[in-house]
Every structure is written in structure tokens, then in C-alpha cells.
């Protein structure tokens, strides 16, 4: 079976090794999928020698794993690989709309844009409320600054 060529399991060392065709999976997708598993296993990436050599992914469980556990880990990696690859493709396809939404959202939150109906009109007829009995207008840096001698 083809899977024998791309997956192998060693329960003695709790290690699953996968060989990936670089023509199918870009390297950054392999990085992304591998990174998602680092709370569960130690990851080592390698590459077969020679032109067109496959990426080798070694996943060693942080706790002991039998063959069933290694198969599950390998399967999880495969699913994450597909998810990352598909996400990459979708982000590329939807790039314009994503950029528009994210830029608007971050600019809106940071204050770069402000729809006019949100602008608060300035009050200038009664400034009594500017009295500051609690000292709240004092910048916190001044209010809580430590005496420099404390640091000496």
C-alpha cells in the first residue's frame, strides 16, 4: 500500500515518521502543521537527499505512544496538513476581501477611521465638570511615579 511508503511507526521510540512530497505540500504548510503538534510531540523536520527528495517529518511523542497512538498522531498531522494547505489556498483566493475586512477592523479599532456619526460634539457652555476634585486628570505616570530615590 502507498501508505507504507509515506508513514512508518516505531513504538519503541514513540516515533512516527512521515515522508511528504514537496510538490503537494509547500514547506510553510509543513511548518504550520508541525507547529500545531508541538504540545503533544517533539518534531524534527528533515529532507531526503537528492533532487526532488521528500520532506521527512519525525513526530516523537512527549509521552509513550503505542502503534495506535502513533497512527492517531500521524493522522492528526495529516489532517492539519490538509487544513493548512486548504486555508492557504482560500486565503489566497479571498485575499482582497480579507484584506479589506481586516484593514477596516483594525483601523477602526485603532482609531484611523471614525465615522462622523460617532464623533462626540464638544460641549463648551458649561465647564464646571472639568473640576477635578479626585485628581483623575492627573496622568497616572505622575500620580504613581516612584520617588527616584526608591530605586537607588
Amino acid at each position: 500500500m502507498a501508505s507504507h511508503n509515506i508513514e512508518s511507526f516505531d513504538a519503541a521510540t514513540s516515533t512516527a515518521t512521515l515522508a511528504l512530497d514537496g510538490g503537494i505540500y509547500p514547506l510553510d504548510v509543513v511548518y504550520g502543521a508541525a507547529y500545531a503538534l508541538i504540545d503533544r510531540c517533539y518534531v524534527l523536520l528533515d529532507k531526503e537527499s537528492g533532487k526532488g527528495g521528500r520532506y521527512l517529518v519525525h513526530l516523537r511523542g512527549k509521552s509513550a505512544l503505542d502503534e495506535i497512538g502513533l497512527q492517531a498522531l500521524s493522522g492528526e498531522f495529516g489532517n492539519e496538513l490538509l487544513s493548512q494547505a486548504l486555508r492557504r489556498k482560500i486565503v489566497k483566493q479571498n485575499g482582497a476581501i480579507i484584506e479589506e475586512i481586516v484593514t477596516t477592523a483594525i483601523a477602526g479599532a485603532a482609531g484611523a477611521t471614525m465615522p462622523t456619526d460617532f464623533v462626540v460634539e464638544e460641549e463648551d457652555d458649561d465647564l464646571d465638570f472639568l473640576d477635578d476634585p479626585l485628581g483623575i486628570a492627573v496622568p497616572w505616570e505622575e500620580k504613581f511615579k516612584k520617588d527616584k530615590s526608591d530605586n537607588a
Binding site: E80, S83, I98, I101, T104, A105, A109, A110, G111, W140
Partner: protein, 509 residues
Amino acid sequence: MITFAAGANSIDLADVVRLRKVDPNFAVPFNFRAVDGAFFVSNPLGDWIVLQPDELRRLAEGDATPGDGLYERLKERNFIAAEIDKAAQATRWAGKHRFLHYGPTLHAFVLTGRCNFGCTYCHSSIVGMHRKDTDMSIEVAERAVDMAFRTTSPGLTIEFQGGEPLANWEVLQHIVEYARQTNALAGKALSFSLVSNLTLLDDEKLEYLIDRRVQICTSIDGPEDAHNAQRPWKDGNGFQTTTGWMKTINERYVAQGLDPNLYRVEALPTITRPLLGRAKDIVDTFVGLGCRALFLRKLDPFGFAARSVRQLGYSMDDFMRFYMEAVEYIIELNKQGVQVMERNAAIMLSKMIADYEPNYLDLRTPGGAVIGQLGYHPDGTIFSSDEGRMVAAMGDNAFMIGSLDNTYEELMTNATTRALVIASTNETQPDCVSCAYKPYCGQQPEYNYKTQGTIGGRMRDSTWCRKHKSIFDFLAYRLKNADAEEMEMFRRWTTNRPQEHFLQERGPI
């Protein structure tokens, strides 16, 4: 028959819809999903329609002409590209996405890590009452208020969280006074919300909270025995004490002349495995307490809940069985004249049938992390959300976006924020991009990270997706088969009446 999310929606499209030649110019982009032998079809504007298999074929092939029934139905729901009033629809879309233009509205202040309860599922990873070192100080509190007021949002809610926030009463009061003073200049729509078990409340504190219009929320997990088992309190009967205060507070609202249908203590249950078989008991308890709404919350993967999942956890199918039983019962009660609703359903129905975006932060796109909410830890660090700080309480600062030493602009634009906004945008998500419920849905990067290891997650095997898609399936089924009485009831659930009493005075106080 109701089909559920993620694989169970297994109708073979080719068997029921025999497409010949698709006309790519006839319809606006649409997604569809099998529901009860038909298809729930939605467009990016949030319109939806239920089509029979042959009607879906005709939509895809452009096999409908003006004057025929299907064409007119499609036109009314904005599915025919040539019939769209683009300017009007652009305005409509922008209106529902106003939140894109302003920053965080919800500011969760963790006043302390201390708590006098020992809830079996606690999401917040609390500490004992002697640990005053976990309290927020006056200095941090003022700086956090200053940061909160930097939001570009015209409105903000400061939510007091814990631990048990009443344990740090002095700082809570100080924040209220300081924020009110600050708002004299800022003029924002400011409100306060307290999330408390209420057991540390006394008459003096209540007088203050009522006087300062602080909205009060609590947790009730169902009938007394279940509540006290899940939320043990060594000093007494938690259910009796909490519900006693709920009654007192509700009476105070009535005494103030407030509409009791709108102003009540909001109580939320957290559903654990022992509660799964008690859907009706839970609904009856809330109705008995005079509550008008239940928010049936699934167990979170955060805090102690993550550690106690073997005892308290359940499958999503189990949760959905519980959820449907509870909501079917709520519908039955409504038909008997009892005014009660389920909040998940109400939020989704608002989007689906009222064309209203309630800005519920967990179910919008981009999600609410950072740009919709911030979580302020007592030590001055700032997190993407309340859930973000819960992840931190488990020893992982992945969602710490900075601290009070940063500027507001730095928080809103840093690399973590950008990553969270992108990750929670549905247009980046496999599955979401082709989902019929995409116009109404959203996801939470913190949940994705905690359950699947990445902020993007994988919706196909995500319990987040499965839960929401299943509830949408349930609602789509109910909407498809609803009679006039049920539609009127669903519309009533979507009625949005702002609780203006809880807004602080704008300008001088």
C-alpha cells in the same frame, strides 16, 4: 428529520439535484445545506430561502423567469443578481457590520483571583479567599479604566469579573466612580456589569449597585440540588442565598418603576454531564425564578473545566439532545403563555429573521478578540478576551496582547491582534467559506487554540463548529416547519429592547 453538523449532513447532492448547465451570472453567490428533505440556501447579505431540490437546480441553472413563483421568491430574497439594488444592499451590509469601524466595547476587569465558591467546572482557575495578593490595585484599576476609555467605540461596558469580584469591593467602587468621572469628558455610552455569585452582597453594597445602575448577572445551574452540587459553598446554601438576592434585586427594579420584563437579574447555567438529563428541571427552575431568558452554555475548555472534563464533559451529540429538549420545552411553554427564551437561539434568530446584528462577540466575523473586547488582569497585563486570560490562568500567555505599559494603538495593531483578527475572519476558513450559516456565524481563536492547537482551528472536526452548526440546523428545521404562531414567537425572541436604565449619564455628573 433534523440532520446535524460535520458529516451527518450527508445527503448526496448529485442524487437529488441533477444539474445540467450552471448559469454563473443568474444568482448571487450562495451556499446551501440540506434541511429536512429540502435546502436552506443563503447569500452573503444574510438572506435565506428554503428550496426544494428542483428549485435549487433552477436557481443554479438560472431556470426561472419574471412572473413565475420561484423567480419572485428569489427576487424578494435578493438571490437574483440582475435584480439586486447594489447601493441599497451595500448600505444594508455596512449597517450590519458597523462594528468594523470601532474598537472594543466589552472590557472585562478581573478584580481578583479570589473566590468563596469551589465550582467543579470553574473556568477562571480561582484561588482561596486569603490570597489578597491576587487583587487588582487602585493604581492598576485607574490605568485600566484610562485604557478602556481609549476605545474608538462610542459605547463601552466595564464588566467586573473574578474570582468573585465582590471580594474586592473597594476597587470595584473606585472603578465605578473613576469611570463615571472620566466619562464626564468622554461622553460615551458607559455601562457597568457585575458577574457575581452574590453571596458577598449586603444591603449597603446593593444600595450602591442599584444607585450606580450596575447591571447584575449571576450563575444558576438549575434546581437547588444540582446547583449546590456543582457550585459548592462551604458557608451555606448557595442556591438559596443567590436566588434570595435575585428576588430582592428584581423587587428593587420594580420599585424603581422599571419594566420587569426587561430589567431582571440575568442568570446563566453552565451545563455539565450530570445536568444533561434534566433539561425540563432547569427550564422550570429559571421560569420559577422569574427569568425571561436562559443561556444554555456548554462547558468551556478553559480553567478547571479543562481538568474536570472526564467527570463533567460530554459529547456534542449529548449536548444537542439536551439543548433540543430544553428549547422544545421552552417553545411549548411559550405556547402556554409563558414568556421565556433561549439566548443562543435568540441571537441566531436575530441575524436570520430580524436582519439584525446584535454584535455578540463569539458569533461575528471577524470575532471579538481584541477589537471587540479586552480582558484586564489584576497585574496590569491585557488579554484578547476573558477566555484569553483564562488560557493564561492555565499557564499559557499566548493571548496576552500587552499590558498597561503599552499604548492603546499598540494593543490594537500588534502582531498578535492582527493574527487573531485574520484567524477569526470566516473568509479565511475552510468549511466556513462554503457554509450556509456563514452570514450568521463566527468563531473564537482562543477556543480553537485550546481545543485544536491553532488559532485557526479546523472547523470540520471542531466542537465549536459542530455546536453552532447543529443549533443552526435545529433552527433552520424549526423555521422551515414553523406555523404562524411559532414564527410570531421567534420574532418576539429577536425583539431588541435596549436596557437604557443601565447607561450612565453622559457628560457632567
